[in-house]
Every structure is written in structure tokens, then in C-alpha cells.
């Protein structure tokens, strides 16, 4: 998972909602050819052939509020 480059190794790199979604969008597109929204919809429905390919993105998404609209379709 590529995170925004930090010029120093910050104690905690705080990402905005937009930055988190941008990472998920980019990686979901690259790995599975899906949008972030489709990724979570298919993940929740068990429709991904290999959900483990995106385990790191699923874990990252937990930094968002549970009611984030990204999960609305899931």
C-alpha cells in the first residue's frame, strides 16, 4: 500500500478521508480494476475471487467512520 510520501518519519501520519479514499481507489484500480466503492460492495457480498489481495486496503478503510458513504453500497 503506497502512502503519501513523508519527508520525515512522522510520529503519526494523519490522513484525511480524501487521502484514504485516494489510496484505496488507486490500489483497487491497480490490483482488481475496481473502484473503491465497487471493491467494498463486492467484498461485503463475497464476490471477490481473492479478497486477501486487498486485506491491507480493508484494514486501512477502518480508519474511516463506519457510516462513511464509501460503505453505503456494501
Amino acid at each position: 500500500m503506497a502512502t503519501p510520501a513523508a519527508t520525515v518519519r512522522e510520529e503519526v501520519l494523519t490522513l484525511t478521508r480524501e487521502q484514504i479514499i485516494a489510496i484505496i481507489e488507486r490500489e483497487a484500480q491497480k490490483r482488481l480494476g475496481l473502484s473503491a466503492r465497487d471493491l467494498f460492495r463486492r467484498y461485503a457480498r463475497g464476490e471477490l475471487d481473492d479478497p486477501g489481495r486487498v486485506s491491507d486496503l480493508v484494514i486501512l478503510s477502518h480508519l474511516l467512520p463506519e457510516d462513511d458513504e464509501l460503505f453505503a453500497a456494501a
Partner: protein
Amino acid sequence: MPRPELSSLLGELRSLSTAYKAGDSDSFAAFRDLASKLLHLTIADSSSYLQLIGGPTGSDELLLTNGGEAPLLLNDGRFLRLSILLYRESTDRGVRMRVSESSFQYQEDQDGECWIFRYDYLRRPPEDIPGAHVQIRGSLLEDCLPRGTPLERIHFPTMRVSLEAVIRLLAKEFTVRCNEDDAVWKPALDETERAFFDIQHLPVGSPEPAPRSPGRRKLRRKK
């Protein structure tokens, strides 16, 4: 490493373990420092580092992952994709830090197309997949799976697997070179793994119902 230095190292690791188990605001950094120390005693290339990442909802839940643009580079030129979700939880003994989810993937390439094995522990996995499992990208010698099902799609259930166990596996079975001698890193991993077992959440066979993390409701900032 001479014995006094090993004692000093083990003391440092114990201090970090105590610090992360304390559950205060420094716990996350202590866990990061501990994991980083273990990786750099063993299989990690010197350029690899770990990063704590927070989101928009507050500071009681942080992700520990590989820093920079790529997974952790290992001494064998391969990579370890690492994600550990940490949170703070109110308990009868005060606030404690816990690991709620983790994923470790050993891979040949930076992008993870050529992954080798992965250990996942997810609180809410897709239906019919055990929350804690291992997958291996390979093939079986016997023709025993349903037609067209590759071995890599099989989720072998496991208990929680620690970072220490993954490091041992890579060092001993995959012969990834370690930065210190066995006499140093083995006792170091043993020391810290005992502390991990105190904070782990044990998986059950079926996905856990919401909320994803039991401590979230108590400690999360209100929106």
C-alpha cells in the same frame, strides 16, 4: 552480541512491551518501535521502516504499516506487506492497547502480484472465510480440490499469528538472512511474543458482529 548487550537488548524490548501494554497515548509508538526493532534485528533491509497512520476519526485507532511507497524490503530482495490495526480499549484494569486486525503478506514483487503466502486476521471477513487464516500461493501434488480451484483460494484456519511467528518462519524456513545472530534474535522474539499473547484477540469461527472493535464505542471521539 556479547551476553551483557543481549541482556540490555532484552531489557529494552521488555520496556517497549510494557509501554505498549500500558494503553496510554505512547502505546502506539512503543508498539511501532518494538515491531521495527524486531524486523531490523532480523529480516528487514535497513531502508525499510514502519509508519503509524491515523484517520479522520481520532487517535484511538491507528494503523501500523510499511512506510513509504512500497512494502517492507527484506534481506532476500522480496517484500513483506504488513498491516496491523491497533486500538485502545477500556477494560476493568484501565485502558489497554489491542491488535484488532492484521495482515502479513510475503511477496516476490513490490506490487504483490506474485505473493507467496499471507496470514490475515480480519474481524469481518467475507462470509465463509475464517477470520484468521493462512493462504499459500502454490499447488498441491494431489488432485483433491474442486475442479478449477487453485490452492491459493483455500483459507486454512489458524489461531492468531504474531509478527514474531512470521519473522521466524521467514528466517528459518525461507532462509531470509537476519541482521543479527540466532543467539540474539531468537531470544528477542521469544521475549516479545509472550507479551503479544496477552493483548491478542482470539478468533472465533464466524465473523464477529458489529461493532468491528469492541473498544471503539468507548474511546472514539464523537463526531
